[in-house]
């Protein structure tokens, strides 16, 4: 297992956002997390790169292992962890003061790794399927791109620091169908190099891109299994109600 979660509980002050969640994600697979709003999906992925603890009043208990190493063991620096576990957010958030090129290498530059990154920029933008659209204007503002292009730029930016795991928090929910299709194709491509956890509101999207699916409801992991099984033959009645559109 690339990622192993055991008995994870997460809180925001008095709100109990996740209730003893346990699941594993094998390397080079895509795990989709589905569930209605407020069910703890985002909190779950934000625990995996320790972004959850940055929110004032946030706590967590339980264990998360990446490559068999406990994230909260002594000596694990969350800053180093985040370089191995990349993240893409719901809304595209390129750095507005930087060019396209500078955005891609922002992770390196901001960490003080200098040098000529031209090759890396091309590689990352190609991986994010954006290279052909921006290769002639790498030094224009990142804000000149469309929303879908900005989101792929953010993926390229996350890829440039060479992560092993990529967390995606509803990466396509602010995008139109064509841009969404591009992101989904990208996810299928990236699976060959990375382990991906994607939160989505869109059940068709989960069915299209993932190998495994986890259904969260009210902070609990209700069901977790092969995507095919979750969508065609769920064991839990609540899962069935959700995937067939009876609630949520």
């Amino acid at each position: 297992m690339k990622i192993e979660v055991r008995g994870l509980d997460a809180y925001f002050r008095s709100t109990h956002a996740l209730r003893s969640v346990s699941l594993g994600v094998p390397a080079n697979t895509v795990l989709a997390i589905i569930g209605p709003s407020g069910c703890g999906k985002s909190t779950f992925v934000r625990c995996i790169n320790r972004m959850h603890e940055l929110v004032p009043g946030a706590r967590q208990t339980g264990q998360i292992f990446v490559d068999g190493k406990d994230l909260h063991a002594r000596g694990v620096d969350p800053v180093d962890l985040r370089r191995r576990v990349g993240m893409v957010f719901q809304r595209p958030n390129p750095f507005p003061t930087m060019s396209i090129y500078d955005n891609v290498v922002a992770g390196l530059r901001l960490n003080g790794i200098g040098g000529d990154h031209a090759e890396l920029v091309e590689k990352s933008l190609r991986q994010a399927a954006l290279w052909d659209e921006v290769k002639d204007r790498l030094h224009t503002s990142a804000l000149s791109l469309s929303g879908g292009q900005q989101q792929r730029l953010c993926i390229a930016r996350a890829l440039a620091i060479g992560p092993e795991v990529m967390l995606m928090d509803e990466p396509a929910s602010a995008l139109d169908p064509i841009a969404t299709a591009k992101i989904e194709e990208l996810i299928r491509e990236l699976r060959q190099q990375l382990t991906i956890v994607i939160v989505t509101h869109n059940m068709q999207q989960a069915a299209r891109v993932s190998d495994h699916t986890a259904f969260f409801y009210m902070g609990e992991l209700i069901e977790h299994g092969e995507t095919e099984q979750i969508f065609t033959n769920p064991r839990e009645p609540r899962t069935e109600d959700y995937v067939t559109g009876k609630f949520g």
Partner: protein, 278 residues
């Protein structure tokens, strides 16, 4: 229906009248300073030392230089502290320390500038045993810091949290995120705030009266008494000589132009900033 329209017209007229009243002082300041100050302006006025009583000619070159250098010293001392405090308030200022700093800044910005002058006198002039440009600069810096801290805090808070998250998720430490992403994004606005606080400091007289005092000659040393436009205007204006009154108007016009230019630059920068945002 008719009544509503009538009230609408009446209110519009009242607002227009209020606007006119508010513009009268502004218009008369501009008119008086320009009409009386303009005849005094010539090249000598900007480059020469003040002439003794009775002699014609001369200028306020040393006062212009003095104002610029003391505002410069004020900036070097005040901008890092003010901007730094603002970033601290925005990024870490939600606890007790933050409230205390915020309260202090508020109190400090309400302190009359002459009191700031006295404090600078006690802190700098007395230990050094002389009036100096440094003391004037310290007084101006103390005046700049609170306003700068508050406006920097506001500007840094305007930076979307998603950018901070993006940076943290790339494995960038918090402090570097604050400096290189958050501060960098707010920089345009902060430059504007700095320019406005410079404009305000350049127009101060009271804090300079007994810190920098005055000087009839060129002064290039930070530890010597220094002339400034505002103190020079004061000295000229209270003198009994017609010629000096004329010079006071001229110096007032120069000061007005300086402050006006800074405000215009600040405005242009601010517009540019919002123009480039999506």
């Amino acid at each position: 229906m008719k009544r509503r329209r009538l009230v609408n017209h009446l209110m519009t007229a009242l607002c227009g009248f209020g606007l006119l009243l508010a513009l009268i002082p502004l218009g008369s300041i501009l008119w008086l300073v320009i009409s009386r100050g303009a005849p005094a302006l010539n090249l000598d006025f900007f480059t020469q030392l003040p002439a003794p009583v009775g002699e014609t000619g001369g200028g306020v070159g040393n006062a212009i230089l003095g104002t610029l250098s003391m505002v410069g010293i004020g900036c070097i001392l005040g901008v890092p502290v003010g901007v730094g405090a603002g970033v601290f308030l925005a990024e870490r200022g939600n606890g007790r320390t933050g409230d205390a700093v915020r309260f202090t800044a508020e109190v400090l910005s309400g302190v009359p500038s002459i009191v700031v002058g006295i404090v600078a006198y006690g802190l700098v002039v007395l230990p050094m045993h002389r009036f100096s440009a440094l003391a004037g600069g310290v007084a101006l810096a103390v005046l700049m810091i609170p306003a700068l801290a508050r406006s920097t805090e506001e500007l840094v808070r305007l930076v979307p949290g998603s950018l901070r998250e993006a940076s943290l998720a790339l494995g960038v430490p918090q402090w570097r995120t604050s400096l290189r992403v958050v501060l960098r994004t707010a920089l345009g606005g902060i430059v504007t705030a700095v320019l406005l606080s410079i404009a305000r400091a350049a127009g101060e007289t009271a804090p300079l009266l007994f810190t920098a005092l005055n000087n009839q000659y060129w002064n290039f040393k930070a530890d010597q008494p220094t002339a400034s436009l505002t103190v020079q205007i004061y000295n000229y204006a209270v003198s009994p000589y017609q010629d000096w009154h004329q010079k006071a108007w001229g110096a007032a016009l120069v000061l007005l132009l300086l402050v006006g230019a800074l405000s215009l630059i600040a405005k242009a920068l601010a517009r540019n900033r919002f123009g480039t945002a999506r």
